[in-house]
């Protein structure tokens, strides 16, 4: 299952490699990762998407929470957050087909950020499905280059990752308890 994790970390050298090393050495594959400074310059926000079983997700959260640089860990719930990626697509395109390509871009509310005699560069932000859909339509023209960020995500409404909450114990999400299989009734091995 695909999970979106949001981390509030200290903005200092080496933190990103510590976080990504943790995933590597515990055997969890990162699907995407995005990092950037927050409104407080001493903090960075890391958004990670990862495709794992639910019990592995619990383990990842606990392991991340242990790291001194990681101030908050939150697993974002489906439907309760907004997630976006950003992509640049450089399409092979001369003057004769430029109009068609711009029309396609318009349908997706994408922007043209560069035009040259033989190419056109499109910028699009959206979720993974939207980006895939546009990419598929542009393949016939010839995609020269595609550059894509990892997902960034934010919770809807007033929910936020607030450093005032740092003194609270680790949040145990409701799925944590049911993450393991049901334990069957006890059998009696006493001879």
């Amino acid at each position: 299952m695909l999970y979106v994790l949001s981390l509030l970390v200290e903005n200092k050298a080496g933190v990103l490699s510590r976080v990504s090393n943790l995933f590597a050495r515990r055997g969890f594959n990162i699907k995407s990762l995005a990092v950037g400074e927050t409104n407080l310059p001493e903090l960075s926000r890391i958004t990670i998407t990862v495709n794992v079983e639910s019990w592995q997700m619990v383990q990842i959260r606990k392991q991340l929470y242990k790291m001194p640089d990681v101030l908050m860990v939150r697993q974002l719930k489906d439907g309760e957050h907004v997630a976006r990626e950003l992509v640049f697509i450089k399409v092979a395109c001369n003057a004769s087909r430029r109009g068609e390509v711009i029309q396609i871009a318009d349908i997706f509310r994408a922007h043209i950020v560069d035009v040259a005699t033989e190419s056109l560069t499109i910028e699009l932000s959206g979720n993974a499905d939207k980006i895939s859909a546009l990419t598929a339509l542009l393949v016939p023209y010839g995609i020269l280059e595609l550059v894509r960020t990892g997902t960034i995500a934010i919770e809807r409404g007033l929910e936020r990752m607030n450093i005032d909450e740092l003194s609270r114990p680790r949040e145990a999400d409701e799925d944590e308890e049911e993450a393991w299989h049901e334990v069957p009734a006890i059998s009696d091995p006493l001879p």
Binding site: S17, Y65, P68, P169
Partner: protein, 566 residues
């Protein structure tokens, strides 16, 4: 005051009264401060010796161990010892020198990215790049070694910062434990009591965390007085209660006793405290978890559910948990679970096991390995001995047959299984407890990995009695080759072992060769006659395999113990 002096004054301020280390280029300034401030420092013969000695000291004293190494090869020589401390949760502060800040990243002479290298095997590590951060970083590193689950922390300090005059090291922020302490809820406690009341076949599994947590062994003793629950320990938990405790089934796991492994395999409730369910204890965790209630208590919540699915999860320090559990039991005067059938069943297994093992303790020529270990234990019984082991067959024999009397008395490389750990760790252990006999039980393989530390032992003249159990083979490897590789003894025979007594003599350490029970007793008489180091080179049979044994991947109750059938 330069950076180096700040470092040494910091250590002194923390009450550190010794450190182990090895000098070199970038830490010369630090060694100059050690010299000027007359800070007690013990130079080993190899950095690996320093870090293992620091660990031995920490494990016995309960205080963080401190070691110092230079940049590059000095720092990389610490790696095995740091990994060892990380897996066994030993608090260590490792201070390494780094090349000058302007040379970092230029492949300078003796440069190695030690913070990168040790990231996966430290709780945290630091490269000091701002002079005014030096002391705050040391402060934080020191706290981190023992905050929550203990472990190693490394501080890498560039040469120019050590040499730089730092007027006043202003802490930029006070150290705040980075995670709040969780509270054990009344609901969880009543769930635990309810589970204890309904279980018919409970087992208490005690791990190394019970030894690490201050006060936990006393609270554990109280809990056993209250309940007489059958109890076993992991290898790392050995010593949490005395070896002769009546409820104790001895240690569990791949080479644990029959009764403890049968109890582990057949219990309907497992109360696991301060243990991480290593694969040497439970090889197939998901299968193991079926059909029983598992209560897992650990100070490190990421250990709960990491290997074994749990029914009741308690994130708490072992001492505090037992304290609250005891209080909850006292509040319930009607708490009187009846586990007598189960206890009698296990007592029957213990008796059968003891009947098989006791004859091995008889003196014979050639000497039996089990006798050698048991007899050593008897010779120092009542003196609150410390047993330090290396890694391999002798380690398992020591775990099975050496009796310890108090916590922090069985010092072994549990998680990493580091050959070469024994001798240097014994040096650290003896430094921490100069009034107690330290018996270092080592193999002929492991001792040769760090044998140069005989020089350190002689120099500091510590009361360490080294028993080299020489079976002229890498015994554990040989045992597996015999059982699982058609007796192909590839690279495991050691038939050109040196005369270890001569090596000891060359270092100025007394010793003797032992081949008979009489020689063994004479050697012990000599070794215990004063407080100097002593080495015994003891010939034991190649063929003495370690049993019981759980074959890899099998369940605890499937263990092999020849002769245990009806």
């Amino acid at each position: 005051m330069n950076g180096a002096e700040h470092v040494i004054r910091f250590l002194m301020g923390k009450g550190v009264d010794y450190c182990f280390g090895y000098p070199g280029g970038p830490v010369l300034v630090l060694y100059d401060a050690i010299h000027r401030l007359q800070f007690p420092h013990w130079r080993t013969r190899h950095e690996q010796g320093a870090v293992h000695a620091a660990e031995g000291y920490a494990r016995v004293s309960g205080k963080p161990g401190v070691c110092i190494a230079t940049s590059g090869p000095g720092a990389t020589n610490l790696v095995t010892g740091i990994a060892n401390a990380y897996l066994d949760s030993t608090p260590l502060l490792c201070i390494t020198g780094a090349v000058n800040r302007r040379d970092i990243g230029r492949d300078a002479f003796q440069e190695a990215d030690i913070t990168g290298i040790t990231d996966p095997i430290t709780k945290y590590n630091y490269l000091v790049m701002e002079p005014n951060q030096l002391v705050p970083i040391l402060e934080e590193a020191w706290e981190l070694t023992t905050d929550g689950r203990p472990g190693p922390v490394l501080v890498n300090i560039p040469k120019d910062i050590l040499a730089l005059d730092i007027d006043k090291a202003t802490p930029t922020r006070p150290f705040i434990p980075h995670r709040p302490k969780p509270q054990l809820s009344a609901d969880v406690m009543s769930d635990i009591i309810a589970a204890l009341e309904t279980t018919r076949r409970p087992l208490l599994l005690v791990g190394g965390g019970v030894i690490l947590s201050p006060g936990a062994p006393d609270e554990l003793a109280g809990f056993l007085d209250n309940t007489h629950m059958p109890v076993t320990t992991t290898l790392m938990g050995k010593g949490a209660l005395p070896s002769d405790h009546p409820d104790y089934l001895q240690h569990v796991g791949m080479h644990g006793t029959v009764q403890s492994n049968q109890a582990l395999g057949n219990c309907d409730l497992l109360l696991a405290v301060g243990t991480r369910f290593s694969d040497r204890v439970v090889a197939n965790p998901v299968r193991y978890s079926r059909g029983r209630t598992i209560i897992h208590v650990d100070i490190d919540s990421s250990e709960i559910g990491k290997n074994v699915p749990t029914n009741i999860e308690v994130e708490d320090d072992a001492g505090n948990f037992f304290r609250e559990l005891n209080a909850a039991i006292v509040r319930r005067p009607d708490f009187a679970p009846d586990w007598n059938d189960w206890r009698n069943h296990l007592a029957g297994l213990s008796e059968r096991y003891n009947r098989l093992v006791t004859p091995l303790y008889e003196p014979t020529t050639p000497l039996r390995t089990q006798y050698v270990v048991k007899h050593a234990s008897r010779r120092v019984a009542g003196l609150n001995p410390i047993c330090v082991t290396d890694v391999g067959q002798h380690q398992m024999f020591a775990a099975q047959h050496f009796d310890v009397e108090s916590p922090r008395s069985f010092i072994t490389s549990g998680g990493l299984g580091t050959m070469g750990f024994g001798l240097p760790a014994a040096i650290g252990a003896a430094k921490a407890a100069p009034d107690r006999p330290v018996i270092a039980i080592v193999g002929d393989g492991g001792i040769q990995m760090t044998i140069q530390e005989l020089g350190t032992l002689q120099e500091f003249n510590l009361h360490v009695i080294i028993l080299i159990l020489d079976n002229q083979t890498l015994g554990m490897v040989r045992q597996w080759q015999e059982l699982f590789f058609d007796e192909h003894y590839a690279a495991s025979l050691m038939d050109n072992n040196p005369d270890f007594v001569k090596i000891a003599a060359a270092y100025g350490i007394r010793g003797s060769r032992v081949a008979t029970p009489e020689e063994y007793d004479r050697a012990f008489d000599e070794a215990l006659s004063d407080r100097r180091p002593y080495l015994m080179h003891i010939r034991v049979p190649k063929e003495d395999n370690v049993y019981p044994m759980i074959p890899a991947g099998q369940d605890p109750q499937d263990l092999i113990m020849p002769g245990f059938g009806e």
